[in-house]
Amino acid sequence: MAQYAVLIYANDSAHRAHATREETAPHDRHAEELERSGAMVAAYALTTRDLATSVRGDVVTDGPFVDAKEIVAGFYILEAPDLDAALAIAMLNPACHSGGGVEIRPIAGGGVVERPA
């Protein structure tokens, strides 16, 4: 099995402050499905673009690093035997059906850091 990161690109994150359950429902449902499938290793939804801060060199600016129509709205790590299997899962992401999309990147290494309690 290999691990892939799925970066979700959308106009903005659905998870704005005080977002209603309805607004985030498709994403929550999809996350639950993935969890049940056993393919998901970790998942993070990010806040909206207006909370992003970027640092280039030593200059701090407001907003996402790349000035584009879409931003990374979230990402997750999934385990799959090959790229086709990873693509099949990633293509189910709601972002793919609402003007955005996903980027799939094989993971080279890393993981959650274990810390003493």
Binding site: P81, D82, L83, D84, L87, A88
Partner: protein
């Protein structure tokens, strides 16, 4: 002992016909494209000596496959022995060699060509990479020749191939035929690659000759192979038909001096009737079932052009209708431009001109050399010669193929006579 010339011919023949089969069967054992490619190359080299000594085998593909797979197994074994001497550094996950030897004990030739084709044309690879990989791995074209076809240097092409193979192994693009549900999305790039190779060969992007016959042959070979492997796919039939009917006119597209001839000026008696008949049968079968796809429709259009007894007797209304259906399944501005040619015959050059101008304003064809060329012809036929001159000059500014440039210059000069 066999005659060296006969052996060389047998090897060249096996290279052209069987490369894909041998490589595809070896990848399964090697588990890696690079290793498989190396082993197949060595097998072809070894054939020269063996076949001269023992005679050409009855089944050259089986001989080559066995030789290449044996090399792959040896290489994997060496690798495992190496690893077993360093037990602390790496533990082999499983005995790959045992698994592989079990898989095919009698050394028969499994037909894995479809796996190879779908891997080379995986949508996770750029089309540039797909085309290069297909030529190198499926057709067995040496890297320097692939580089020449793309007009890039050999190191550039070698780097492009290496990058593509690295992505296949690094991202784990699987070596398999897509499932039925994925097939339409996965077949599209395969057909696109073969069509692109044919187009590159049919009108060489630059240079003195109009046709690069080798690329045309490679594309036809691939289309036939795909048809043999997927006989029931309508679009596979459609693509083969399109290539056959287009290529049937190859001998008459230029005159004895190499000048481009328009369709109306070509000698129809010299067209390849056998190829046209074969295309016709494929098209009839393709039009029968359900909603025909883009290649079946394109082939049907090309076939209607070709089968008319003369240019004047072409069934123009039927061609316009097929173009309308083609635009529904493939809404491309290039198709819309091509549609204006039969439209001019049905509704007159003025109506066609209005359509060309509409397409020009939409901007989707900016820099496309055939737009000003079509426009210039329609302007000439409408008696608007001053504007036609401007359009021919525009077409000349973007055309790179010498034969096409000569044609456009000649048309421009004829306006002054």
């Amino acid at each position: 002992m066999s005659e060296p010339a006969a052996v060389a011919a047998a090897i060249a023949d096996a290279h052209r016909r069987e490369w894909a089969l041998v490589l595809a069967a070896t990848v399964r054992v090697a588990g890696d494209l690079d290793l498989a490619e190396e082993c197949v190359q060595e097998a072809y080299a070894a054939a020269l000596h063996s076949w001269t000594r023992d005679g050409v085998p009855n089944n050259p593909a089986a001989w080559l496959t066995t030789a290449a797979r044996r090399r792959a197994v040896d290489a994997i074994r060496r690798e495992q022995t190496f690893r077993s001497k360093l037990p602390l550094l790496a533990e082999p996950e499983e005995s790959t060699v045992d698994r592989l030897l079990d898989a095919d004990p009698d050394g028969g030739v499994p037909d894995d060509r479809l796996r190879l084709i779908f891997t080379c044309c995986h949508p996770a690879l750029s089309q540039e990479a797909q085309v290069a990989l297909t030529l190198r791995l499926v057709c067995g074209v040496p890297t320097p020749d692939v580089a020449r076809a793309f007009l890039v240097s050999e190191p550039t092409m070698a780097a492009r191939l290496t990058r593509a193979k690295k992505k296949i192994s690094g991202a784990r693009i699987p070596y398999r035929v897509p499932r039925a549900a994925e097939l339409p999305d996965r077949l599209r790039p395969v057909l696109g690659v073969i069509h692109l190779l044919f187009t590159m060969g049919h009108t060489a992007p630059s240079g003195a000759d109009l046709v690069n016959a080798d690329l045309v042959e490679r594309a036809l070979h691939l289309a036939r192979m795909l048809r043999e492997l997927m006989p029931d796919e309508p679009e596979v039939r459609g693509l083969l038909a399109l290539l056959l009917v287009t290529d049937a006119r190859r001998a008459t597209r230029v005159d004895a001096a190499g000048r481009l001839l328009r369709l109306q000026d070509q000698d129809r008696s010299r067209w390849d009737r056998a190829a046209m008949a074969q295309a016709h049968d494929l098209i009839v079968a393709g039009l029968r079932g359900g909603r025909p796809g883009r290649y079946v429709l394109q082939a049907a259009i090309a076939s209607l052009y070709a089968e008319a007894p003369s240019y004047e007797q072409t069934d123009w209304p039927q061609i316009v209708e097929l173009y309308d259906r083609l635009l529904e399944v493939w809404p491309s501005p290039v198709v819309a431009l091509n549609r204006t040619v039969p439209l001019a015959m049905v509704a007159g050059p003025q109506a066609a001109l209005a359509e060309v101008e509409r397409l020009e304003q939409e901007g989707g064809l900016a820099g496309y050399q055939y737009l000003p060329a079509v426009k210039a012809d329609l302007l000439t036929r409408s008696g608007r010669e001053a504007e036609a001159r401007v359009a021919y000059a525009e077409a000349l500014a973007v055309a790179a193929n010498e034969t096409e440039r000569a044609f456009l210059s000649e048309r421009l000069a004829s306006l002054d006579r």
